[in-house]
């Protein structure tokens, strides 16, 4: 496609050129730039004017402004008109026009909503006034995109001439051209079309989108839409069709591999789980570095909620993943999704966007008449992936001996240190006698096929006053773990209405009802099905464990480790129910004071209630006995969360010749209130009744927290000749959580871009477009509420009527905290070459975090374990690039996109003299620390003790523990993806390969596989003992053989043998789509697309034995790099059907 000059410059022509009026341009500018949700256009057809000798041009502008008519006329002809004097109130267009054109040398004609003005007379040779001639050939029509939505500002030109116009806000155009002409429709981001008129006067065109939207309009902070070329920072626009088709239950997880610099990893935690999204590394030492999620201009809560919250630092509570905020969004409702990667992009969102922002705009109703119906049905099945490579030579048993009694079989159920398989009868943990033989396929046999069915329907309608869209979606998903399922219903509503031509309102609301029933229990021991399944002896058939209750109704024993519960006991006796009713949305009102100035007020809220309960069933082997009655545990809570954002915006825009200035001022008040009422009870009077009332020991608790941030902000954007752009912003936040003396922080940002190809009169023919950009920004951040003072609390139960009080926190309060700061610099370049066949977009950035608010470890002898201080410096720097290539265009379209990002982080400083601090600890070994001078999230563990020559030292045949050593960072340095999209006729094939590299993982699971005798490595020394290749202190080689089970168990503190490269390359998605629309031309179906896809199609390369390196338990950064028995990852096969009526 040839790069077309912007339509705004098309008015420089002469002769019979028809151009749009300045005011119309401004209206369009507002459409583009102002605000996504509000339409400032005039729709009323009644006109009120009070003019005294005004120019006709001015009057016509006012008419355009008050109505949705537009005027078309030749250059300069209005100069021939005489001034107009009139006074009308609520008059019709016809009446007003009659008044305006009385005694004018001009006449007019109305075509649909376009009014064409021409000179009334042409002087004939005879000097007589001829008849008013009919307008030559006015061609009108509407230009829409493939979704039947009107396109504004499409350039419509006649081939081979300078004649041209562009479409209005409703996609309409009118142009005066000969009936034999050819019209060219071109629009940024769409494939140009040529249409032969053949004397038609109406031409309706559907423009197809280009495979890449390189010059797209981007929704930026505060909902301001801007052309990508004007941005001084890097953004990523997500293909929302792709997300809707190859969907994941949590929309966040669909982003994996799609945007350069965005690192997405889904915890392996079942269909109701969270998404972990990191943009440009981690800006703070704390575990949560998630981007801010903005829906329709207002932030929503995206906290990943821990189940069994008691350890607030562990988002899974060690047991399950209760999901996050993004899961309440239906992908079918998403109109656009933009990732604002850097601080500059997000500067106007302030402190919460220190890790970038994801801007989601939901769909609104279309403006065309009639009801639009869209139906999407997505059905998937998923199968657990088994990466285990276990030994099947020796069977169940300990110390080289198989169980000789049932009791022994029930004691050694997680040890495969028995004898060689011989198929002879042997007692089994279920009480039976069965052949002593291998039982393979534990993963396949225990984990069932998961189903996920999501169906959604959307209705939309609109008229000149407003539009409306309502959608409903239902998701029913069953996890691969038995008796675990997830259900959500989402109702989304968008309504716009123009109360008057200048006053418009908009409401967006999203209601979700989510029910997560028995989310899979993952991670450490105790009610984790995965730990047991993965460590069970290799001769036990999973199906035998289905007999999980003994004659007393208690859990059947499997192993002397009572924390390795029977997985079916966990699945059917343990329960956990998470329900959430959530509504978020906003209502806004906008007043267009004049064509260059608007005011907007908005109130947004995110509110949910979340009842939650779980039990530890009576008779579980790992529970203590009850004094009387029945042991067990039950917890119930109800939490509510409310975030309210009240904001206002004032926007003004003015254009002087080559300059365009756009100023926005605003303010926001954010308030968050969270509370939770909970009761836990231990032991019961009545067996099997898990209620508060039936509990013997009751511990009620109530928590409350509130915080507020007030902000004022402004931005000013200047553009020169549409090729040089400069944008300045400033935001001041006042944080309620900080010391009143230092709770205010003003932070600026500046960014600019320069489209230098537009400067050349003769640019190189291969270079279509080139832009350089640069940005600098600061954002600040605060801390949790109530950390400035010492609080006490009272134990809800007295002991023998004696009240027990305590100091509420182990973190010594600090009342002198000030805001933390993130400073980010970014430069980049966008290039399009060879007719936009090769496009490159790259960015370099450096992000420094200073004054980080940290909980620093202090001596426990001080009474507290930590204190909060403003200390810590952290640097992230990196490169991101996106290369998209179009090897084939035409009948076959092939787009190939490769994105990659490299991020290097470095801890610059901690507290005075502090070299490191620990944030996470593995079950057996492994510490995640932040260490000065090293990348964030050091994976540390004890190495072997070595002598000066580097020989491993042993004592008694076992290796000695050396020093705590850093093996690398848990955060991948490289992330990226390679996508290919090929379309031919109605077919479309999409593939995605993505990768992560440059991180290490400490596998606690692989230690378990070794010490339980499962991994092939454990075969060494079965018969004669392990003679470890080490040396004694006196320099002699070790010759002591240690029995295998004892030897491998002794490695439990040694991390070194279990450090793995966490890199992987995987074929994430393959999908095939077929567009049936062309076959259904005569039916009411406007579009029908069927796609089939496979997610997690293949692992191309990995280094971690027995497991998927992506299998992790938590979204917190404090636990990455420590693998401990997460749910296996699964492969998903699905079909998606999308139909529009």
């Amino acid at each position: 496609m040839e790069f077309l000059p912007n339509y705004k410059t098309s008015g420089q022509g002469n002769l019979s050129l028809i151009k749009i009026l300045l005011i119309m341009k401004l209206t369009i500018c507002f459409m583009l730039f102002a605000c996504l949700e509000v339409n400032a256009e005039a729709v009323a057809q009644k006109i009120t004017l009070n003019e005294n000798k005004s120019s006709l041009e001015k009057v016509l502008k006012k008419i355009e402004y008050q109505t949705d008519y537009t005027f078309l006329y030749e250059t300069d002809i209005l100069e021939k008109a005489s001034p107009v004097t009139l006074q009308v109130t609520q008059a019709s267009v016809d009446d007003v026009l009659k008044l305006c054109f009385t005694n004018q040398p001009l006449t007019y004609k109305i075509f649909a909503n376009t009014i064409v003005i021409r000179e009334k007379t042409i002087q004939s040779a005879s000097g007589k006034e001829s008849q008013a001639i009919p307008l030559a050939n006015i061609v009108t029509g509407i230009v829409t995109n493939s979704k039947s939505e009107p396109l504004t500002g499409v350039s419509v030109t006649m081939k081979g001439t300078n004649i041209g116009t562009s479409t209005d806000s409703k996609g309409r155009f009118a142009i005066n051209v000969p009936g034999t002409g050819v019209l060219i429709f071109s629009y940024i981001g769409f494939i140009s079309q040529e249409v032969k008129l053949n004397n038609r006067t109406e031409v309706n065109i559907v423009l197809r989108e280009e495979a890449t939207k390189l010059n797209e309009v981007v929704v930026t902070a505060l909902g301001i839409k801007r052309e990508a070329k004007s941005l001084g920072y890097s953004t990523g626009v997500v293909n929302t069709d792709q997300i809707s088709t190859d969907r994941t239950t949590n929309v966040g997880n669909s982003l994996v591999g799609k945007v350069a610099g965005v690192n997405v990893s889904a915890p392996s935690s079942g269909p109701g789980g969270s998404a972990k999204i990191r943009i440009r590394g981690q800006s703070s030492f704390g575990g949560d570095n998630s981007p801010l999620i903005i829906v329709n201009g207002v932030p929503i809560n995206n906290t990943s909620i821990s189940a069994g919250y008691k350890n607030a630092d562990n988002p899974t509570g060690g047991s399950s993943d209760g999901g996050d905020g993004l899961q309440s969004i239906n992908p079918d409702d998403i109109e656009s999704m933009t990732v604002l990667k850097g601080a500059a992009a997000a500067a106007l969102y302030g402190y919460r966007a220190k890790d970038g922002a994801i801007i989601i705009t939901t769909k609104s109703g279309s403006k065309h008449k009639g009801i639009g119906i869209e139906i999407n049905s997505n059905n998937q099945v998923s199968k657990a992936l088994d990466f285990t490579d276990f030994q099947y030579v020796y069977g169940q048993g300990e110390n080289g001996v198989r169980p000789s009694t049932v009791a022994e079989a029930q004691s050694s159920g997680i040890w495969s240190f028995g004898e060689k398989f011989d198929n002879k009868p042997a007692p089994q943990p279920d009480g039976s006698i069965k052949p002593y033989s291998p039982a393979k396929d534990r993963i396949k046999n225990f984990f069932r096929t998961g189903f996920n069915s999501t169906n959604s329907v959307a209705l939309s309608a609109g008229n000149d006053q407003g539009n409306f869209r309502i959608s409903f979606s239902n998701t029913d998903a069953t996890a691969i773990v038995p008796n675990s399922d997830f259900h959500k219903k989402i109702l989304n509503l968008a309504a716009n209405y123009n109360l008057t031509p200048k006053l418009s309102t908009q409401v967006n609301a999203n209601y979700s009802n989510e029910y997560n029933h028995n989310p899979p229990q993952i991670g450490i021991e105790g009610f984790s099905v995965n730990t047991t399944i993965y460590t069970m002896a290799n001769s036990i058939d999973v199906n035998w464990l289905k007999n999980y209750k003994d004659s007393n109704g208690n859990e059947m024993p499997l192993a002397r480790f009572t924390g390795r519960n029977n997985p079916y006991w966990v699945a059917y006796e343990h329960f956990e129910n998470i329900r959430r009713d959530r509504i978020f949305g906003n209502a806004s009102i906008r007043y267009q004071l004049s064509d260059w100035l608007y005011l907007q007020g908005r109130i947004g809220q995110d509110y949910y209630t979340r009842p939650y309960e779980f039990n530890r069933p009576t008779g579980s082997r790992n529970l203590s006995a009850a004094v009387s009655g029945f042991n067990g545990y039950y917890y119930q809570d109800v939490s509510t969360f409310r975030e309210r954002n009240v904001d206002f915006l004032i926007g003004a825009k003015h254009e002087f010749k080559n300059f365009l200035m756009d100023v926005t001022l605003g303010g926001n008040q954010m308030q968050q209130i969270f509370d939770r009422f909970s009761t836990e009870v231990t032991n019961f009077y009545v067996k099997g009744l898990y209620t508060i009332g039936n509990g013997q020991v009751k511990n009620p608790d109530y928590r409350y927290s509130k915080k507020r941030v007030n902000s004022l902000y402004g931005s000013a954007e200047f553009s020169f000749k549409n090729l040089l752009f400069l944008n300045l912003t400033a935001r001041n936040d006042w944080f309620s959580t900080l010391n009143p003396k230092s709770n205010s922080y003003l932070y600026p940002s500046i960014n600019g871009s320069f489209v230098f190809t537009d400067l050349f009169s003769t640019k190189p023919s291969w270079l279509n477009y080139a832009k350089v950009r640069a940005a600098y920004a600061e954002v600040g951040g605060d801390t949790d509420p109530y950390t400035n003072a010492l609080y006490f609390s009272i134990n809800p139960n007295p002991l023998n009527n004696i009240a027990l009080g305590t100091i509420n926190s182990n973190v010594s309060p600090n009342s002198n905290l000030r805001p933390l700061k993130v400073r980010e610099t970014e430069v980049g370049m966008d290039l399009r070459m060879f007719n936009s066949r090769i496009n490159l977009n790259f960015s370099l950035y450096r992000k420094n975090t200073v004054d980080e608010i940290l909980d620093v470890n202090i001596s426990e002898a001080s009474g507290y374990t930590q204190t909060k201080v403003n200390i810590g410096k952290l640097k992230n720097e990196g490169v991101e690039f996106l290369l998209s290539v179009f090897p084939l265009k035409g009948k076959v379209n092939w787009e190939s996109g490769f994105n990659a990002a490299y991020n290097h982080s470095e801890v610059l400083a901690l507290a005075n003299g502090q070299r490191s601090f620990d944030v996470g600890v593995g079950q057996y070994f492994g510490i995640i620390s932040h260490e000065v001078g090293l990348p964030l999230a050091s994976v540390r563990a004890f190495d072997y003790k070595r002598d000066a020559k580097g020989n491993i030292l042993t004592a008694g045949g076992k290796p000695l523990l050396g020093e705590l050593k850093t093996y690398g960072s848990a955060i991948p340095k490289w992330t990226g993806g390679w996508t290919n999209s090929i379309s031919y006729k109605a077919f479309r094939i999409f593939t995605q390969i993505d990768f992560k590299a440059g991180a290490v993982v400490l596998s606690n699971s692989n230690f378990n596989f070794l010490r339980h005798g499962l991994s092939k490595a454990s075969l060494e020394g079965r018969e004669e003992g392990v003679v470890f290749k080490g040396y004694n202190a006196d320099g002699t080689p070790n010759s002591i053989a240690v029995p295998a089970e004892e030897f491998y168990a002794s490695l439990r503190n040694l991390g070194e043998p279990f450090v793995y490269n966490a890199s992987f390359v995987r074929l994430r998605t393959v999908s095939l789509g077929y567009d049936l629309t062309s076959l259904l031309k005569k039916s009411p179906v406007k579009a029908l697309v069927v796609s089939a896809f496979v997610n997690n199609a293949a692992m191309i390369k990995k280094h971690l034995d027995n497991l998927d390196p992506e299998s992790q338990i938590s979204v917190s950064d404090n636990f990455q790099g420590l693998d401990t028995h997460a749910l296996p990852t699964s492969r998903t096969y699905g079909i998606n059907i999308n139909a529009r009526f």
Binding site: V627, V646, N800, E860, A861
Partner: protein
């Protein structure tokens, strides 16, 4: 502009006026559901509760009363090794972040408040108890500036010498006990005595007696001096009956810290040690009946553990020197029942109840200390009388665990008849009884064992024992790894003065 609805103006003004400042933020940032001050007696009671700590894994194993064969997280005193993971839940962490932190706050709140002088002095006495446990466990520890992170901003307290701390304990105990005053406000929110001043004086004096007796090896004169002061009846006397024992009365809500070891996930893993069982068995001790048991299915929870064999003849303790793999090679190996071994365990219906009380200072311990003091000629009275009273007091104390553990007067007397006090062997007898008396209070049993050298136990023969204590007993515990890293400078200073941070370095009163 005329057509702008009024509410937009209101909205604008409202937003500008509230956004532009931080009005009301102090109120917003004040937690409305938690108090910023609290009656110190509530904190005091909690400091008593949290002083009951877990002492099975090292202390009770070092004195060879309770044992597990396992390596891994369960390893410790059973194998004479230091295992860093066991720092979790250590006495250091439990006591500093528990009672020390609470008592520091109580002392600050009551120091200058004459109306709370009794609470102030009770808190001083109790801080002495807690501090003594810390010194006895670790040697040098932060004492004078401990617990002050919030109130004095001392985040990294320095270490004080064990001897200086002991001298201050004596000073504090004498002074605080003297200043308790029954005419002043009675602090009833007290887990031990509901604020009874007479009983608190007895507790202060009994604790002073315990502190004083620790000096027997290093400074007998000092020991004598303060034993005499502690027993001076004009100062209020000593604990005189089992009802005056200082203990936490655990219940079904607040469980004994040992509960999970004996009743929960580790119930199949812990056994009574051979030296303990053998001694009780050889002396025909009626306490063996109520302490030891063999369950039919030991790995099961108490409800389904099957029949209980409490026959003293059948009891067998697990010997030292083995792990879970090698234990089968011991000469008297009894075999396994499922996950468990056929060694005797602690009775889960008596002393191992989840609501078993935890005793800090008892009549029995006090009487036995007096027996030793009398034997040494420091106080008047016959050692035999104190001894007999001490033995009987502990037998009588059994029923405080559970009514089923009642030991009758006849059985008590019969035991003393068949095991009469022998002045020639007095110190051994007295301190061996003290060992039994302090069963399940690992800190005190271990401290008195180091002080007196009794009972005579064989050093732990485990092959993999830490070389510094191989062939010997553990004399102190190492500081937690976290503390070594966080409070590095003060740690180094302490080690330079005290000696190596290993399990062989001795606390000052534990002279060779």
């Amino acid at each position: 502009m005329k057509r702008i609805p009024k509410f937009i103006y209101v909205l604008l003004i409202c937003l500008i006026s509230t956004s532009g400042c931080d009005k009301g933020f102090e109120k917003v940032n004040t937690n409305p559901v938690l108090p910023t001050s609290l009656d110190p007696s509530y904190l005091f009671a909690n400091s008593q509760l949290t002083s009951a700590i877990y002492t099975i894994q090292y202390q009770a194993e070092i004195v060879q009363q309770i044992i597990t064969p396992f390596t891994g997280v369960l390893e410790g005193g059973n194998h004479n090794v230091w295992f860093f993971a066991n720092n979790v839940g250590s006495a250091f962490t439990s006591l500093y972040t528990g009672p020390v932190k609470l008592l520091t706050n109580v002392l600050h709140q009551t120091k200058d408040d004459p109306s709370r002088s009794n609470l102030y002095n009770m808190a001083r006495i109790w801080r002495c108890y807690v501090s003594q446990v810390l010194v006895d466990t670790y040697g040098y520890v932060p004492y004078f500036t401990a617990g002050e992170a919030y109130l004095e901003r001392i985040n990294l307290p320095k270490y004080d010498s064990d001897e200086e701390i002991y001298n201050d304990l004596i000073k504090e105990l004498v002074d605080a006990t003297n200043k308790l005053d029954a005419t002043k406000k009675i602090e009833t929110n007290d887990l031990f005595y509901a604020g009874d001043i007479a009983k608190w004086k007895k507790l202060g004096n009994s604790l002073l007696l315990r502190v004083a007796m620790r000096f027997t090896k290093v400074d007998p004169n000092k020991a004598k001096q303060y034993v005499i002061l502690a027993t001076d009846i004009s100062r209020g006397g000593l604990i005189a009956s089992n009802s005056e024992n200082a203990f936490v009365p655990f219940n079904s809500v607040f469980n004994n810290p040992n509960a999970s070891t004996f009743q929960g996930s580790e119930r199949a893993n812990f056994y009574l040690a051979k030296p303990f069982i053998d001694y009780l068995k050889s002396s025909g001790d009626p306490r063996l009946n109520v302490i030891a048991v063999k369950y039919q299915i030991p790995a099961n929870p108490i409800g389904t553990a099957g029949s209980e064999d409490t026959n003293p003849e059948h009891q067998q303790g697990m010997p030292y020197g083995y792990n879970d793999a090698t234990i089968s090679s011991e000469p008297n190996y009894p075999g396994k029942i499922g996950a468990a071994w056929k060694y005797s365990q602690l009775n889960r219906k008596t002393l191992a109840k989840i609501d078993a009380p935890e005793f800090f200072i008892t009549l029995s311990q006090t009487q036995l200390l007096l027996a030793e003091a009398a034997q040494r000629g420091w106080i008047t009275g016959e050692a035999v009388n104190y001894y007999n009273a001490g033995v009987k007091a502990h037998m009588g104390q059994m029923q405080q665990y559970d009514r089923s553990a009642f030991i009758s007067e006849e059985l008590q007397n019969a035991y003393l008849d068949s095991n009469p006090f022998n002045p020639a062997d007095a110190l051994k007898q007295i301190n061996t009884q003290y060992w039994i008396s302090s069963f399940l209070n690992g800190s005190e049993a271990w401290a008195n064992f180091r002080r007196s050298g009794f009972p005579q136990l064989e050093p732990n023969p485990y092959p993999g024992a830490d070389p510094v204590v191989k062939g010997d007993f553990i004399h102190r515990l190492q500081y937690p790894a976290r503390e070594i890293s966080v409070n590095a400078d003060n740690y180094k200073d302490a080690v330079a003065r005290m000696g190596a941070d290993n399990m062989a370095t001795r606390v000052f009163w534990d002279a060779k």
